[in-house]
Amino acid sequence: MAQIAFEQVSKSWGETEVLRPMDLSIANGECVAILGPSGCGKSTTLFLLAGLYAPTSGKVLFDGHVVNGVDARDRNVGIVFQSYALYPHMTVRANIGFPLRFQKVDKDDLSRRVVEAANLVQIDEFLDRKPAELSGGQQQRVALARALVKQPNILLLDEPLSNLDATLRMSMRAEIRAIQRRLGMTTLIVTHDQIEAMTMADRIICMSRGAVAQIGTPDELYRRPADTFVAGFIGSPPITLLEGDAKGETLHIGTGAMTLTASTAGRITLGLRPEDLRLGAPGQGGLPARVVTVEPLGREVLYGVETAIGRLHVLAMAGDAVPPAGEPAAVQIDAAHSLLFDAGGRRIPNLNIRP
C-alpha cells in the first residue's frame, strides 16, 4: 500500500560507509527479496526504510513523499527482526497485541486479531507462554505474527523463516505471500535462501559490499547476471567460473580451448552452470572428461569432472546412466546458456561459446 523509493541513500557509521549511495524503486504491493552475503548491508537497508536509522545522505520516499524526518512509529511499517526482538516480559499474546495497543482498537477486536495472527503462523497453542519458553522457530513465528497483526503498509522481513524446518518454511512462504497479496503490502524480505527469494519475490535485489549489484526478476538474475559476483551468488549448486585468454574467436582456458560466437580479446571468464551441462559416455561428442567426485543430493547428483579447460561441476538426475568415478566420460555443454565476462567481471551480452 505504499510505493518506496531511495534517492542516493547512503549510511555511514563514523568513517566506515556501510551503504554506498543507492537508488531503489519498489512498486506498490510488490514483493522484493534482498539477497547478499553476510554484512553487505541488508539489515541496514531495512532499518533505513523503517526509520530506525537516519540516512547519512539522500532521501527515502514513500508514495513520492520524503519521509526522512518521519519517526519510525508514524511510518506504519511492520518488521520481523533478525534477532526476533520479542519483549521478554510479555506473553506471546501480549507480544503480538503490542502494536495494536497504540492504535485505536477496541478490546474484543484486539484479542480476535491476535488469535487470528497466531493461527496464521500456527502458534495459537503457545499464546500464554513467555518468549524464553519457546524454541527459536516458534519465537520467529511470534515475531512474524506481531509484524502482520497491525496490517502495515510496508512489511520488512529480516530472514523471517531462517529457523523453520523445511515443511513449515514452505507453508509459511505460501501464507506470507498470500496475505501479502491480499492486503497489498509492499514487502521486502531479506533471505539467504535462494529458493525462497526465487519463489516469493517479484524481483530480487542482489547486494554486495554496501551497494546494489543487480536488481531484476529471478530469471534475469539467473540467466543474465550483471557480473561474476551475481552469477556466482545466484544459483545452487554454484556456477563454475573459468578464466581464460581470448584471441579472435578462440578462448584458451587451461590446456583446452572453446570457440566463441564473436571475436574478442583479453582476459575473459567463462561461466557454466552445473545444470546446463550433461555427462555422457565418451564417444558421444562433447568435451572429453573424467569423473572425479560424486555428491548425491537426493533427487539429483552433482559430479565433479576434470577436463582440459578445468574442473567442471555437472548436475544430473539420480537415475541417469553416468560413467562411474575414475572412468573416462564426455561433457556436453548447453552453449546457448553459457555466460562470458570481461576482464572487469561485467557480463558481455550477446556473446556465447559455440556448441
Binding site: 532499518f47 526509520g51 519510525a72 511499517v77 534477532s83 526482538a85 519483549y87 516480559h89 503490542f98 492504535q103
Partner: protein
C-alpha cells in the same frame, strides 16, 4: 576408552579443599563473633567487663522494661522506608533512566557526580552535611534561606533530625541503584527499542513496557540488600546527629551501639544485637520464599553433571 572421561565421583573430594579458605574466614569473623555475642547476652557484663552471673534479665528488658524500644523501632522504620523508597530505589531509578537517556558523556558526568559522596571518606561527607545544616547563619542552607529568601535561620539538626539523616544517607545510597540499574538498562538489546518504536510506542511507552519491566529483578535485589544495610549501618547518623537530640534520630543499630559503648551495658547491647540479627535472618528467609524463584533460583545457565 579415552583418558578424557574422568568419572564424576573423582570430583567429589575437591569441594572441601576449595571451600576451606572461605569457610575458615567465615568461622573466624562471622560465626565466632555470633557465638561470643550470644554468650555475652546471657550475662550481666557491664562497664567493668566482669561477669558475675548468668541471667535472662537482658531479654526481659527488650521485651518490656525498656521504654525506649517502641520509639527506636518507629524511628528505624521511618528512616529505612523513607530512605529506601525516595532515595536508594526511587532516586536511583530516576538517575539511571535519565543518565542513560541523555548523551553518553553527559550521563557519565552526572553519574560521576552522584558517586562522589560514596567515594569520599564518611567523616568528610558527614562534616559537609553538618556545615550544610548548621544552625548558625553561616550554615550553607541558612545562607540561602536568610540571604535569598529572607527567612529566619533553620535548625534542621535539632528540629528535623530524622529528615537530615534520611537526606544524608539517601544522597549516598542512590548511587548504588544508579550504577546497577544503569548497567541493566544498557544491557537491554537495542532491537527491543527498535521493535517498540516500529510498533508505535511513544518514549513513555518504551519506558513503561521495555525499560521498567527489565528493572524489576534488580530493584527487588536492591531493595532487600539496601534495607538490610540501612538497618545495620549507622556511621553517618553517628557523625551527623549522634542519634540526637536525645534519642530522636537513633535507629536500632545505633541504639545497640549507644547502649553498649556509651552506657557501658555490654550484655544488654549484645542481647539487642541478637534481636537485630534474628530479624535480618527472618527478613532474608522471607524474601527467599517470596521472590526466590525469580531472583536466586533461576535455572543454571550451564547444567553441571
Amino acid at each position: 576408552m579415552s583418558q578424557a572421561f574422568v568419572p564424576v565421583r573423582c570430583r567429589r573430594a575437591r569441594p572441601a579443599l576449595f571451600l576451606a579458605p572461605a569457610a575458615s574466614l567465615l568461622l573466624l569473623f562471622f560465626l565466632a563473633p555470633i557465638v561470643i555475642d550470644v554468650g555475652i547476652a546471657f550475662t550481666n557484663m557491664g562497664e567493668s567487663l566482669k561477669v558475675t552471673a548468668w541471667t535472662l534479665k537482658n531479654f526481659d528488658r527488650i521485651l518490656g522494661a525498656d521504654r525506649m524500644i517502641p520509639l527506636i523501632l518507629l524511628t528505624t522504620f521511618l528512616y529505612v522506608t523513607a530512605t529506601l523508597f525516595f532515595f536508594n530505589v526511587g532516586l536511583g531509578v530516576v538517575l539511571a533512566i535519565t543518565t542513560t537517556a541523555v548523551s553518553d558523556r553527559l550521563g557519565a558526568l552526572f553519574r560521576g557526580i552522584w558517586i562522589l559522596p560514596r567515594m569520599s571518606p564518611a567523616v568528610i561527607y558527614a562534616l559537609l552535611w553538618i556545615w550544610v545544616v548548621d544552625s548558625s547563619p553561616q550554615g550553607l542552607l541558612n545562607q540561602v534561606v536568610t540571604g535569598i529568601f529572607g527567612l529566619a535561620p533553620l535548625n534542621l539538626r535539632n528540629d528535623h533530625p530524622l529528615l537530615v539523616i534520611i537526606l544524608a544517607n539517601g544522597f549516598v545510597g542512590a548511587s548504588f541503584a544508579m550504577v546497577v540499574l544503569t548497567s541493566t538498562i544498557r544491557s537491554i538489546p537495542e532491537h527491543l527499542f527498535h521493535a517498540a518504536r516500529v510498533d508505535g510506542a511513544s518514549e513513555w511507552s518504551v519506558l513503561r513496557f521495555v525499560v521498567l519491566p527489565s528493572l524489576k529483578g534488580p530493584v527487588w535485589f536492591i531493595t532487600i540488600y539496601q534495607a538490610l544495610s540501612l538497618l545495620v549501618t549507622f556511621e553517618y547518623i553517628l557523625l551527623i546527629t549522634n542519634g540526637g537530640p536525645v534519642y530522636d534520630s537513633t535507629t536500632y543499630a545505633l541504639y545497640v551501639y549507644r547502649r553498649a559503648f556509651e552506657g557501658g551495658h555490654y550484655a544488654y547491647g549484645a542481647a539487642l544485637a541478637i534481636a537485630l540479627m534474628l530479624f535480618g535472618v527472618c527478613f532474608t528467609l522471607l524474601q527467599w520464599r517470596l521472590f526466590g524463584d525469580g531472583m536466586n533460583r533461576t535455572r543454571p545457565r550451564i547444567e553441571v553433571l
